[in-house]
């Protein structure tokens, strides 16, 4: 793969452009040998568990909303900038069609979710569509954990993976709206489009990508201490907060019944398989396949809730947010990511993936 990157350094295949000084700063990460099966937890996960435990025990601890905002902004910019930096100098003509395919994957995952949810006779159509929109869209937090996971293992992935997040965020949300409202939403397409495309996820990821592409790695070096070196620390704080938030949603789980919990636990497996199949079709590396699987498995908890709330207000926001935040996010982060990687590392090369 011409665009594969060494995930524990900045070198591209064009060679170690940044020289030995940089290598010194980045090559310190432990690399697992290719034999080891790395199913142990990534350290960042422990911060999530800490937050979750504290929340469930009702510890006297809150991270104020302003802190959550700051951490989210830094994470989104970091992921965007990192992706953009890697993209700088890449062959956009080859990448854009792939991004189109990935966007279509969002629709596929969303439709599968909707079909399955419609099997429940008691779940109104609007709720099925709203939940499907959440699961067809993606979670940036989960993606960040997957990146941290790959970096810890020293596994490479496609330079442009951050762009996957951008193109997957929106399509399933539009799908969810169309499934309820048809092609003429009551609030008008202009307002829907505004809501969907101008959420902070798309704006900051896309903004970061653009800045990264325009400036390239060398000019962005002064920004590394905050946006790249501190990435794992910021992610740790973010996951601590997510644990606390997930704990507050856990109470709602009992109310929502077994079907929803079952869906929130099992649908990610299906989403991961779809992601892997698309990765195989797109000829991604093993690392890229993991990322696309994780994106397929993950459910939105920022963009989708905001958009569905206004466009499909009759859907109960508690259902989708609880499923996404209190079940699927913890599941993916604790079990899913290592599981998908374990399976992929055995199966994917076998079918000729990542060759």
């Amino acid at each position: 793969m011409a665009l594969a990157r060494a995930s524990n350094g900045w070198r591209t295949e064009e060679g170690p452009a940044l020289g030995p000084a940089r290598a010194l700063c980045y090559d310190q990460r432990p690399r697992v040998s290719d034999k080891e099966i790395p199913l142990e937890l990534d350290p960042v996960i422990l911060f999530f568990l800490l937050g979750l435990g504290a929340g469930l025990m009702r510890a006297e601890m809150r991270l104020p909303a302003a802190v959550y905002e700051l951490l989210t902004v830094i994470l989104l910019l970091s992921i965007g900038l990192k992706g953009g930096v890697e993209l700088a100098g890449a062959d956009l003509a080859r990448i854009l069609p792939k991004l189109g395919v990935v966007a279509a994957m969002g629709i596929v995952v969303g439709l599968m979710g909707f079909a399955i949810l419609r099997l429940s006779p008691r779940l109104p159509r609007a709720d099925a569509a709203a939940i499907a929109a959440h699961y067809g869209s993606v979670s940036v937090g989960t993606y960040a954990v997957a990146i941290a996971f790959l970096d810890t293992l020293g596994v490479d992935y496609e330079a442009y993976a951050a762009a996957f997040v951008v193109v997957l965020e929106v399509p399933a949300i539009l799908l969810g709206i169309v499934l309820v409202r048809g092609l003429r939403p009551s609030v008008g397409w202009a307002s829907v489009m505004h809501e969907v495309f101008l959420g902070k996820g798309v704006v900051l990821l896309l903004g970061g990508l653009l800045i990264g592409v325009l400036m390239g790695p060398e000019r962005l070096e002064p920004f590394e201490p905050l946006f790249f070196d501190a990435f794992k620390g910021v992610l740790a704080l973010f996951l601590l907060e997510m644990g606390l938030v997930a704990a507050t949603q856990a109470g709602a789980l009992r109310r929502h019944g077994v079907f929803l919990i079952g869906f929130a636990l099992l649908f990610p497996l299906l989403g991961a398989i779809v992601g892997a199949v698309f990765a195989w079709g797109l000829d991604l590396t093993l690392g890229g396949a993991l990322l696309l699987s994780v994106l397929g498995a993950s459910a939105s908890y920022i963009a989708a809730p905001a958009a569905m709330r206004l466009s499909v207000p009759e859907a109960n926001p508690g259902l989708s947010l609880t499923a996404s935040l209190a079940v699927t996010f913890p599941f993916n982060v604790l079990v899913g990511i290592p599981l998908y990687y374990g399976v992929l590392s055995v199966v994917y090369p076998g079918v000729g993936g990542g060759a």
Partner: protein, 97 residues
């Protein structure tokens, strides 16, 4: 001078629509504060943006207040967490409201 104070407590997500509705009905201003709480639709905390409340106050003439309340009621009560109530207030400069 007598006026009505209309207070609306609802989901943060509705902020733009709420403001639009209030100004469309001819109110001359409004005040917003961040809030959290509990009601029919469960606990709404401010820690996570999706689930915070806002508290909007409008001082206006009685009929404007009733119209705003009516409209909000019709448009949003079925689908959104929302509470609203009216009070009498005395203002100094009635021309502002």
């Amino acid at each position: 001078m007598k006026r009505k104070l209309l207070t609306v407590i609802t989901e943060q997500a509705l902020e733009r629509q709420l403001v639009q509705c209030v100004m469309d009905h001819g109110a001359r201003g409004y005040t917003l504060t961040e809030a959290r709480g509990q009601g029919r639709r469960g606990v709404r905390s401010a820690d996570f943006e999706q689930v915070g409340n806002i508290r909007l106050e409008v001082i206006c003439e009685e009929d404007v207040a009733r119209q705003i309340a009516e409209t909000l009621h019709k448009k949003y009560f079925d689908d959104f967490a929302m509470v609203l109530y009216l009070q009498d207030v005395e203002v100094l400069r009635s021309e502002k409201f």
